[in-house]
Amino acid sequence: MARKTEIAVVGAGPAGMAAAIEAGRAGARVIVIDENQRPGGQLFKQIHKFFGSEAHRAGTRGVQIGLDLLREAEEAGVATLLDTVVYGIFSDRCLGLAREHHTEELEADAVILATGASENALAFPGWTLPGVMGAGATQTLIHIHRVLPGKRALMVGAGNVGLIVSYQLLQAGAKVVAVVEGLPAIGGYGVHASKVRRAGVPILTGHTVLRAEGREGVERAVIARVDENWKPIAGTERTLEVDTICLAVGLSPLAELAWMAGCEFRYIPALGGWVPLHDGNMETTRKGIYVAGDLAGIEEASTAMEEGRLAGLAAAQSLGHLTRERGEKKKGEVHKRLAALRMGSFGEGRAISKEQILQARETV
C-alpha cells in the first residue's frame, strides 16, 4: 500500500521549504522530497547579502536564510525525504519515488512542485572541453565541494547570476579575466556589476565567446564583438588565456513533473520558456497540484520563497487547516510582498509576465 501524506512538496529549495513551513505551521502533515543529500537548493551557494525589505530578509546572506528555513521547517514538524528522486506523478496525486535501491509510492491530497530550474547551455566550438561549465556548477564546486574550478575564468553572461558568480570566483581566489555579454547592456543589477568592475574585471557588453581552445582542457577562449544581430564582427577577435569558461546564459524551468501531471503550459520567454499556468493560489490547471519558484517562471530566491508561502498557505487552506478568512488574510500579505519584489525596471517585465499567466489560467 502506498504511503500517504496530506501535502507532498517536491524540491527542498527556497520555494519548497517556504511552502512546507507555511503548510506545516497551519497544521498540515507535510513531506518534502529532494534528490540531493542536503536540503536548501541553491540557497547555500548564495553567500551574498539579499536585496529587498526587512520582510524579505534583506541584508541577510542566502546561506543564513537557508539555515533559518531548515530550522523553521523542523519546528513546523515538516518531514524531509532526501536522496530521493520523484520520477513520476500519476493519477490522484500519487508520486513515484526512487530511493536507495527501491521505488515506492506516496499519495498526497495536495502536491506542491518546487523543482526549480536548470541552467541553459551555450554551444560553441570547444564547449565540450573540461573547464567549460555552468555558472551554477562553479558555485557548487566552490561552496559545496570547496574546490576552485580554475585559476583564470571567463564568465559568459552579465545577468545577476554571471555577476554574482564572478564576484564569488574572485572571493575564492580565482582571477576573472572578463565577463562577456552578448546584449548591448548589462542585464543584472548595476551594483553587482560595479562590485565586479571595482575588483578590476572588465565587463564587455556586445561581446560573445567564439570558441574554446585547448588540448585536454580549456587553455584559451576566443571572444569577439557582436553586432545587433549577434553576428560576430570580423577583426574584433581576442584571445584570452583562461582555464575555465563559466556559462551564465539563463535558466529554464524544470517542468517535467508538471508536464507529466497534465498541467497546461504557456511559452513565456521572459520567464524562461514553458511555464505551467497557475492562479493566484499557485494552483495549476490540475486540482490540488501547485507550483512555486523558478518552475513557475524564472525569478530569484526571495520571490521563490514568497510563491512557496502562497502555495503552502493555499494548499493548507484547501485541506481545511486554515479558515477562509485567515487563509485569505495571510495570502494577501504575501501578495503584497511579492508585488514589492516585482517593481521597478528590473521587476516590471516579470510582473507583466506573471499577470499573463494568471489571465491565461482563467481562460482555460
Partner: protein, 175 residues
C-alpha cells in the same frame, strides 16, 4: 580610458557615470562634502531594496514607498557613523571625509576579500573601474560580528582622489 570619464554608464560598463551619480538623490554635493565625514550613496537603479533606510538612526536616508525608490540622502543629518556601509547589499555606500588632513581625505568602503589589510598598511587605491590610481594608507579595518563578514576599510588618499577611490587592489594570497 579612466573610470571617471567613461560615459557608457552603469548598464554599459558596470561603472556609474558622473552624470548618473550626480542625478542620484543619494550623492552629496560639494558643500556637504566639505563639512566632514559623510556618506556617499552610489545607488542609481530602482531595485527593490531598503536596508540603508533602517540602518541610519538619524533618519538621513529615506527610501519610503515603493521600495524601488532611490535612497534620498539628507546629508545635513549625517554624522558620518558609517553604519549604512556594511548593510547595503549592493556595496554601494561609501564614507568620505574631505577634512581628514590638509592634503588627504579618508575614504571608507566595504570589502569582502581575503587576506584583509591591516591598519598602517600601504595599499593601492582603485577607482570605480578597478584601476589603481594612488597609494593609500589603511587607517582602520572594521569587521565586528554585526557587519556579517563585510569589512569596512578606511584609507587615506590624496584629497583630489576622494571621489574617485572606491576600493583597494586585492592583496596577494600567500603560497
Amino acid at each position: 580610458m579612466k573610470g571617471e570619464t567613461e560615459t557608457g554608464g552603469v548598464r554599459k560598463t558596470g561603472i556609474p557615470s558622473m552624470k548618473e551619480l550626480r542625478a542620484s538623490p543619494g550623492y552629496p554635493g560639494p558643500e556637504l562634502l566639505a563639512r566632514g565625514p559623510i556618506a556617499v550613496i552610489e545607488c542609481v537603479q530602482d531595485i527593490p531594496c531598503n536596508p540603508c533606510e533602517a540602518a541610519c538612526r538619524r533618519g538621513a536616508i529615506h527610501v519610503g514607498n515603493p521600495i524601488t525608490n532611490l535612497p534620498v540622502f539628507y546629508g545635513e543629518k549625517c554624522n558620518g557613523c558609517g553604519n549604512c556601509i556594511p548593510v547595503c547589499p549592493g556595496q554601494a555606500i561609501f564614507l568620505v571625509d574631505m577634512t581628514y588632513s590638509e592634503d588627504r581625505a579618508s575614504v571608507s568602503f566595504p570589502y569582502e576579500f581575503l587576506p584583509m589589510p591591516a591598519k598602517g598598511d600601504i595599499v593601492e587605491g582603485v577607482n570605480r573601474a578597478g584601476e589603481v590610481v594612488c597609494r593609500a594608507e589603511v587607517l582602520r579595518v572594521q569587521k565586528p560580528k554585526r557587519f556579517d563578514h563585510t569589512a569596512v576599510i578606511t584609507v587615506a588618499v590624496p584629497k583630489e582622489l576622494a571621489m574617485e577611490v572606491r576600493s583597494m587592489k586585492r592583496l596577494k594570497r600567500e603560497g
